[in-house]
Amino acid sequence: MRFLSALMLTVAVAACAVAAPAKKGSLELKSVTALAFNSEGVLFIGDSTAAKVYAVETHEKTDASKGALKVEKLNEQIGGMLGVPAAQVAIADVKVNPASGTVYLAVRRGSGPSAAAVILTVARNGKISEFGLKDVMFSVVDLPNATDKNRAEAITSLGFANGKLIIAGLANEEFASTLRIIPFPFGDKAAAAGVKIFHGAHGKYETQAPVRTFTTYKIGDAEHVVAAYTCTPLVKFPVGELQSGNKVTGTTIAELGNRNRPLDMIVYKKDGKDFVLMANSARGIMKISGDSLATNEGITTRIADKAGVKYETIEGWKDVVQLDKLDDTHAVILIDDKKTMTLTSVELP
């Protein structure tokens, strides 16, 4: 057993070494709109204004953080630390470092064009600290053609699967948008290749539409992206099809309906079964069975409400705007009731 542990450790270290970011230096973020981690604790930072994604080694130890978490008046506390009122604090993303269990926040201080971007960490005892970006090991990838004249591209969601970083963005000019994908570690002249993503509506119309939020999920042996579009269908497509220049058409597996904004998604396992949890402006939290994602062949005819995969709405989770998996049995959620923000751990339903 001891031998086995040692062996596993060696493998983990080797994997870390392969994925080691390229150079040591200091980062100046212009903005931070999305975060992601790979399993070795590399933090990906989406900087929309700079049109770059950074990969930063966190060097956090396994299981540094355990137990429940609850931080009330989070925006007031952060405002106090950054020297601005709570209303000037925006949290664009909440992600848990799977290598340590520490919660990371993507924070904007201020609302003008010179607003600062900060990454904060929250320990299980509620202590909030800045994740310093001085003298860190990092690498960077540019989003090609993201800026030209007045064009800007908002990075709406980042994900990592099959050794690749997946970047969902939405431009402020053209609607037709691309999902970008890049293998990690980034190469010397790294650039994220674009894939055109379409989705159909009942097999009749299709649109090259932007992805709002997504997660990755293994169906059989194939890693899939499960994505929610801006116009609400929930779709799936295999990660393997995300090749540069490809046109990929997602299979519509659910219609989320009106008054609805998909906000964030995670995948988890409970009692041997897979589930997808989606935070959503109109319906609270939706819990979708992974079995139905795998077997659903897509919606091709018009169906009444709750078309496609079956889901249940989790009662009691209100105003959830961000969620991530904290450990095997818990999620961390950010609740924003427009007055105050609360960051708390909850048991996975």
């Binding site: 020297g83 004249k149 000019e173 509506a201 009749k204 709002r212």
Partner: protein, 354 residues
């Protein structure tokens, strides 16, 4: 007796004092000799700077001690107009100093334009651009924007795609507003349940409220309203072969004028249509739009060369309804319209300058 005490206090060289140097660094002076031997943790405990109305949380920053002066530099500059408090605790005695950096009086901003600029818009209009005279605040824009159906006088419920990642230019002087595409696309649930946001034959008013503040917190000078009629949906792909093109004369700087036959996207036409010389090199010049973005003029920096020139149009050029070159916003798989999509990223039209 009281007077004597005051004199005694003023004369005490050990009385600590707090000040803000250049509005940037809080400095504590008059510290006792024993302070020299203290550690960073002691300095952090001794000097805290807080927002006066949030005294429980200390600002992030850096402490340093040099020449008997304890300094605190905040992680982010002190913001003008906010009341901060420096609290120094030495040997059980607390000294406080409240300070506020002056906020320069700012001219209120205003809306300078909304595109599409026409007064009749397609029912399936997807996108508006709102231009401002100065950089604006991001983060909560949707509460300042309303769309009213003037025919029945009611506000349209959830007309826009409300994104956390608001679609600003980098200078935050233009924001993009998308009509909820779920209410434009046919056969998706929001439209089936609620109908389209804009309805043909009716009149609507888009209002930008003056409650919207600029990047420094100053509200707009006034509300801005754009009233428009709604015409039929535009589901046609952009077809550059049908554009009118008036070639200018060689040797002069007359504009090259192109008529699109319908308005195109005010942002995209500024960068996705270019003019190339015979060698394929892009010609520098200035673009102006007219007739509600249905006409594009290009005045070259240098006089027009004689010969065959090329107009290059990127295929991701869109009209305000999201239709692209050769491909409508929604492709009807059963009844395809527009030209077959090929792998090229641009199309060209050539013209001769004599």
């Amino acid at each position: 007796m009281f007077l004597m005490l005051l004199v005694a206090l003023a004369a005490d060289p050990k009385a600590p004092e707090l000040r803000v140097a250049d509005g940037k660094v809080v400095e504590a002076t008059g510290l006792p000799e024993s302070f020299k031997h203290k550690t960073l943790d002691d300095w952090v405990a001794a000097l805290r700077v807080v927002l006066a109305d949030n005294p429980g949380t200390a600002l992030l920053g850096t402490h340093s001690l040099a020449d008997g002066t304890l300094k605190f530099e905040p992680r982010f500059p002190f913001a003008p107009g906010l009341k901060y408090r420096a609290i120094l605790t030495v040997e059980g005695r607390e000294t406080t100093h409240d300070f506020t950096l002056a906020k320069p009086k700012a001219e209120p901003g205003r809306v300078t334009a909304i595109f599409p600029s026409g007064d009749t818009l397609a029912e399936n209009t997807l996108r508006f651009y709102i231009h401002f005279s100065k950089p604006m605040a991001r983060g909560d824009i949707y509460k300042h924007i309303t769309l009213r159906n003037d025919t029945d006088g009611k506000l349209v419920e959830l007309p826009f795609l409300e994104l956390e990642e608001e679609l600003w230019t980098r200078d935050q002087m233009r924001v993009t507003l998308l009509i909820d595409p779920g209410r434009i696309k046919r056969e998706v649930k929001p439209r089936i349940d609620l109908g389209p946001t804009l309805e043909e034959g009716k009149s609507f008013t888009l209002t930008v409220a003056k409650t919207w503040t600029d990047g420094d917190g100053t509200p707009l000078a006034a509300d801005f309203r754009k009233t428009f009629k709604v015409g039929k949906s535009d589901r046609e792909a952009i077809d550059p072969d049908r554009w009118t093109l008036a070639a200018p004369k060689a040797g002069g700087r007359d504009p090259l004028k192109i008529g699109f036959g319908k308005p195109l996207d005010a942002g995209l036409v500024q960068r996705l249509i270019t003019v190339e010389d015979a060698a394929g090199k892009s010609i520098e010049g200035t673009i102006t739009l007219a007739r509600n973005e249905a006409e594009w003029s290009f005045i070259p920096k240098q006089a027009w060369p004689a010969g065959k020139l090329t107009l290059r149009i990127m295929k991701h050029l869109e009209d305000p309804s999201g239709n692209r070159v050769g491909e409508p916003f929604e492709v009807d798989l059963l009844e395809p319209v527009g030209k077959p999509v090929d792998a090229a990223t641009s199309v060209t039209r050539s013209f001769v300058v004599k």
